[in-house]
Symmetry: C2
Subunit: 329 residues, 2 copies
Amino acid sequence: MSGAPETVELVRAGGPHVAGLMARVEERLREDAAGHGPVLADHAGDTIAAGGKRLRPLLVLLAAGEPRDHDAAETVVRSAAAVELVHSATLVHDDVLDAASLRRGRPTVVARGGRGMATAAGDLLFAQAFAELTGAPAGDRAEAVRILSDACSALARGELLQRADAWDAGIALERYLLRCELKTARLFEAACALGTQAAGEPDLGLDRFGRRIGLAFQLLDDVLDVSGPASRTGKHRGTDLLDGTVTLPFITARERDPWLAALDPRSIATPEAAEDVCERIAATGALDDARTMALALVDEARAELPERLDARRREALELVAGGVVARYA
Amino acid sequence: MSGAPETVELVRAGGPHVAGLMARVEERLREDAAGHGPVLADHAGDTIAAGGKRLRPLLVLLAAGEPRDHDAAETVVRSAAAVELVHSATLVHDDVLDAASLRRGRPTVVARGGRGMATAAGDLLFAQAFAELTGAPAGDRAEAVRILSDACSALARGELLQRADAWDAGIALERYLLRCELKTARLFEAACALGTQAAGEPDLGLDRFGRRIGLAFQLLDDVLDVSGPASRTGKHRGTDLLDGTVTLPFITARERDPWLAALDPRSIATPEAAEDVCERIAATGALDDARTMALALVDEARAELPERLDARRREALELVAGGVVARYA
């Protein structure tokens, strides 16, 4: 939820202007949901209105710093909304593919409207993201669209990779990391790039910071899927295993436990069986190693923050980096 | 297929430059399919490479006229590719929803790669369409992206409407026409707008021509679904009825035949039953009326061609209008 403690803290750290801009982002997202007729408002609207942590739009705002004028502020707000719309679109499509019934505690679009409705709603959210960018008054709009369409391509390629690799227990670490980069890190990178671009500082160089933070975020997300607890993640442990999605903890654990190395993921048929495999993965120390890798990425991300960054933005972005780690704590 | 007789004739009518530009569009589409790794090349690649009539990219080329320089030519080619990529993306997603096994005589992406692969492949094609536009060297790129994202929004809204209206035999004519406009006509309109925009003539005013041609195209497509023959459409008669998609012939026929008015589309369970309903619809004269409406739209489209249009473009676009009608003959 946008009112989650970590988000509130991050909004405060970004400066007095951030709360106001974030409220405008929420307003635009509500309008995006409501502005295309009751059918969309009923369906995709719920997904974007329900809200997640809003980490991606927040990154846009924090990377942009305090806008120098009205047009810059409007551009930052629209860029932030665009990034969240893309994220929402992928969630809607993912839920179609997983036939998921709940998302953020609410019925998914696919559960309420069916697969057709949900696929079209996701497409519409993608299209609206680009409309947000092109309607912004400042900055190089073509460059902004290029940044976002690159990120969308990456998201789709990551999803393709994940489907291609499904149930393959033997995938290499590099392949897993490439998938995380495509599926997650590139949109974080785009959020930073769109923020600096909207602020008229396209060469500030926050892209690598964003990419590393995104990669760490995905690694920790994959750890959480194995470690639980369900009360924190909102789903039972081992959903990735049940989906055939092989992630870092399992890859590492297979090198240490011959029983896991011999395990065919397809044989994990029930949530209880998945829970047992999660225990076995944890026993190898693979979760600690994955966490260590993620923390190292966060440290690298902090070190990548450019020298010439003003103190306020530096502090806020370092807090975001810390927030990614805190998700795990 | 791009080598279909009507396309060849249209390419010729557009002038000697059109064949060369169309070859470059095909080249770009091949690169778009191949350039994102073997996974996409295997899947979405087939959809775009197999080709349809390429009517939408051809509209871009014909609306643009002969490019005045290298940059304009490159922009026209990329705009044409972008429109076809969007069209391909919607086909891939439609096939997911319909669980279709064949498209243009080849196995669909969803049949070969599964739903996940196909949804992601469609998303990737959407993203690539925007990348094509932003990579073009001439014209107002932000405006081009706005045109295409508006068309994408319309496509998705049309798809949402169609799903919302599924199985509702009582939908009004206006609602049906709105759906056709969103699902089909707006992308034809965008093709014309992108063509004139790439040519540096954004105010030439071919949009309404494009929209009417697109509407006529959809009406005749819906007639073909009822009239057959299967040898021409590549599918048995009445697939729309079996899908719960209520179209113009059925709407009109229900006003004339009480048996059809009382018919619940859900009760049409087999291709044979659908065939019988098609016969009954044809017997009311509803197909002739739908054709008449489509032909009137084509006439209106021709009349909408602006006065100041050069003779070559006028002739080529009138041939396109005729080609839409010829589809039915």
